[in-house]
């Protein structure tokens, strides 16, 4: 049957199992919106395209399904860019669809034209401009396949208006044929054997687990492997929840704001097993002194990650879950107990700490969020000190419960992402732990949350500063607080103006009741916690230092 490009697009999305789109309309996507009007797809209208991209991202991270966002050409498309880059850095499966001016006007600086495939070339796994309506169905199939297979990532499809209104026969494009695209799922048997030998020979092994464990669904295998040999497990920010934070073998997060015991363990280990990680500089700090005495093993689905930042002794290219399974099958259990005891001592001697002084401390607020939710919430964060405190003081025990912008560090991510998470998990408690600076980068999405009855909670750690930047100014710029102090609006009134609930907490004793009230509410709630203004995040590895040399 003959169908328009827009109809074919929507049918192809349905064929890929898409049930939700986050988007914002405009001239050249009107044909698509017209089809969406009757389609069996939920469209969430955000208030900014960046919000749509982050919401799709949050949806994907929480559900494991690809997130889909839709925007018009030109400014709509460019507003997606930060969200796409964010998804790219954190390997999130996403399909972004943009409208484009008609092919006859391409390249002429036409009204609302932007070369979005050119702009997103370095921040997408792949992108397409569809110039022929006969290619729509196949392009959608390929886009979803590329976005979700191998190392996941965002894929963009640019749809010129004449393609959306053009007509063609809709036929299922069948299986994907991409001669240049190959995923590496099976690890090399010989390398697996080497890995097993190295693990059996090591006395002080440490596992360093990242986002790949979460996205690869390898948390069960990771737990099994760690328990077989009583190996301590450190995670990256992206890996939080990939290993239960309350497990005796967990040493929490490593790196710049990681736990002391994690960083000590890395410094003294003789075998470092990187699982689904990318040796980011926020983790390794001074590369030459990262795990200096260790044999380095690296498991990743993306061969280009191996050896990118550090030399690897034992490379294992493959699906993380499959690879761990193969290792486990060959491994004989043996316990590295002396090593475990040593780490136990570090854990006792160097817990996360802060000074209580009667004022509201962000660390305590986050601990209370954990207590009130019994650790059962999905937490998103913005970027800054609050993000690090959330990582340090909330114990994550399940994958996909901590959703944060790791690689790009995008302020304004957390709240729209929380909207996406709430759409994916309607029955769960979703909390955005925010800073007063970050929340103002996408606060307009309160209207979205209210409109769709998404009862997202926002807990603002309000220090009247761009706190993380202020901390650096304090430590490295002689306390010269250049443009980091904020004059904030009344967040409670702002919440109310949007039709949400606003709660201000002014005393320590009100923290818990306020949280309880917020959790009990069926509406979006903004909680304003005026916290200690110049609190710092510790421990901290100063930039350029080896990771065992921490401040605080």
């Amino acid at each position: 049957m003959q169908k328009t490009g827009a109809q074919i697009l929507v049918e192809s999305l349905l064929a890929e199992g898409v049930d939700t789109i986050f988007g914002y309309p405009g001239g050249v996507v009107l044909p698509i919106y017209d089809v969406l009007y009757d389609a069996d797809i939920r469209h969430i209208l955000t208030r900014h395209e960046q919000g749509a991209a982050h919401a799709a991202d949050g949806y994907a991270r929480a559900s494991g399904k690809p997130g889909v966002c839709l925007a018009t050409s030109g400014p709509g498309a460019t507003n997606l860019v930060t969200g796409i880059a964010n998804a790219y850095m954190d390997s999130v499966p996403m399909v972004a669809i943009t409208g484009q001016v008609p092919t006859s006007l391409l390249g002429k600086d036409s009204f609302q034209e932007a070369d979005i495939t050119g702009i997103t070339l370095p921040i997408t796994k792949h992108n397409f401009i569809v110039k022929d309506v006969n290619d729509v169905a196949r392009t959608v199939r390929e886009a979803f396949y590329i976005a979700t297979s191998g190392r996941p990532g965002p894929v963009l499809i640019d749809m010129p208006k004449d393609v959306s209104v053009g007509v063609a026969e809709y036929t299922d494009p069948g299986p994907v044929q991409l001669p240049g695209y190959k995923t590496n799922n099976e690890p090399d048997t010989e390398q697996v054997a080497r890995a097993v030998r190295a693990i059996e020979e090591s006395e002080r092994p440490v596992i360093y687990a990242g986002g790949g464990v979460v996205s690869g669904g390898a948390h069960g295998e990771l737990l099994e492997l760690a328990e077989m040999l009583l190996m301590p497990v450190a995670t990256t920010l992206m890996g939080l929840g990939g290993f239960p934070g309350n497990h005796p073998l967990s040493v929490g997060m490593l790196g710049m704001h990681g736990s002391k015991y994690a960083n000590y363990a890395i410094n003294e280990c003789d075998l470092l097993i990187g699982v689904g990680v990318r040796f980011d500089d926020r983790v390794t700090s001074k590369l030459e002194e990262f795990a200096p005495g260790a044999v380095i093993m690296h498991i990743d689905i993306d061969p280009a990650e191996i050896g990118k930042n550090v030399g690897v002794d034992i490379p294992l290219v493959g699906d993380v879950r499959l690879t761990l399974r193969k290792i486990i099958e060959r491994l004989r259990p043996r316990l590295a107990s002396q090593w475990r005891d040593k780490i136990g001592v570090w854990k006792k001697e160097h817990p996360f700490e802060f000074v209580e002084n009667g004022r509201i401390k962000p660390q305590e607020v986050i601990q209370e969020i954990f207590n009130v939710t019994k650790g059962n919430a999905r937490i998103t964060t913005e970027v800054g000190q609050h993000q690090m405190w959330a990582a340090q003081y909330y114990t994550f025990t399940r994958p996909r419960t901590f959703i944060s912008s790791g690689g790009l560090g995008t302020m304004g991510f957390g709240f729209p992402a929380a909207i996406g998470v709430q759409v994916a998990c309607p029955d769960e408690t979703v909390i955005d732990i925010a800073g007063d600076g970050s929340i103002q980068m996408n606060i307009q999405e309160l209207a979205t949350a209210v409109h769709y009855n998404l009862p997202v909670k926002i807990a603002i750690m309000n220090n009247g500063f761009l706190g993380m930047v202020r901390q650096w100014q304090e430590l490295f710029y002689n306390r010269r607080y250049s443009y980091t102090e904020l004059d904030n609006p009344d967040f409670v009134k702002l919440a109310e103006a949007y039709g949400a609930v606003g709660i201000r907490v002014s005393k320590k004793s009100e923290v818990r009741p306020a949280l309880e009230e917020a959790m009990a509410s069926a509406k979006p709630v903004v909680l304003d916690f005026p916290i200690e203004r110049e609190e710092n995040v510790y421990p901290m590895v100063p930039p350029g230092e080896p990771i065992h040399k921490m401040l605080g």
Binding site: L121, P122, H126, I129, L178, P179, G180, P303
Partner: protein, 172 residues
């Protein structure tokens, strides 16, 4: 060290931008890059000369592999291969110098492709070394303009780096 990569890519719009962008974005050094169609209309061949140590080469290759449009990459540096480059050189040559320049052209089997009142334009093909030597010999006369195509290369004998339709990317 310089490496010569034979890269087969899908003949689709934007591929060159993807490949070139990857090099600049990741800070790799391209010495030369030549692109053109192959025996198959759907497939183009890029010959890329890149400068770097083993680690850089490994990363370049792995990152190139990640591009969906890249079908196959061969580092042919250590293999036996023939390579050619074409150069056009416009050199000062008044009537007094013309004879000498023509003699040089003869030595290098270059051809004169255009004459001006005070200039000669020469064409020469060969490998790097020959083209460099040719350029050096003409330099004393004053080179007005010079264009090189960049290197193209092909393995010798029955070995080839062509595209076998087995749906995989290979390296040798």
């Amino acid at each position: 060290m310089r490496h010569t990569l034979a890269v087969l890519v899908e003949n689709s719009p934007g591929v060159l931008a993807r490949v070139a962008g990857l090099f600049s974005r990741r800070g790799y050094n391209i010495d030369s890059l030549a692109v053109g169609r192959t025996e198959s209309p759907d497939v183009s061949r890029m010959t890329i000369v890149v400068d770097g140590d083993e680690r850089v080469l490994e990363q370049v290759t792995k990152q190139l592999h990640k591009l969906v449009d890249v079908i196959k990459i061969n580092d042919i540096t250590v293999d036996e291969y023939v390579d050619r480059e074409l150069v056009l050189i416009k050199v000062n040559a008044d009537s007094a110098q013309r004879g000498e320049v023509m003699q040089i052209a003869d030595v290098f089997r270059a051809r004169i492709v255009d004459l001006g009142r005070k200039t000669l334009t020469l064409e020469c093909t060969g490998n790097d070394g020959k083209i460099n030597a040719f350029e050096e010999s003409l330099r004393p006369y004053g080179i007005k303009e010079l264009v090189r195509t960049g290197k193209i290369a092909m393995l010798r004998g029955s070995k080839y780096t062509g595209y076998q339709d087995n749906g995989t990317k290979e390296e040798i």
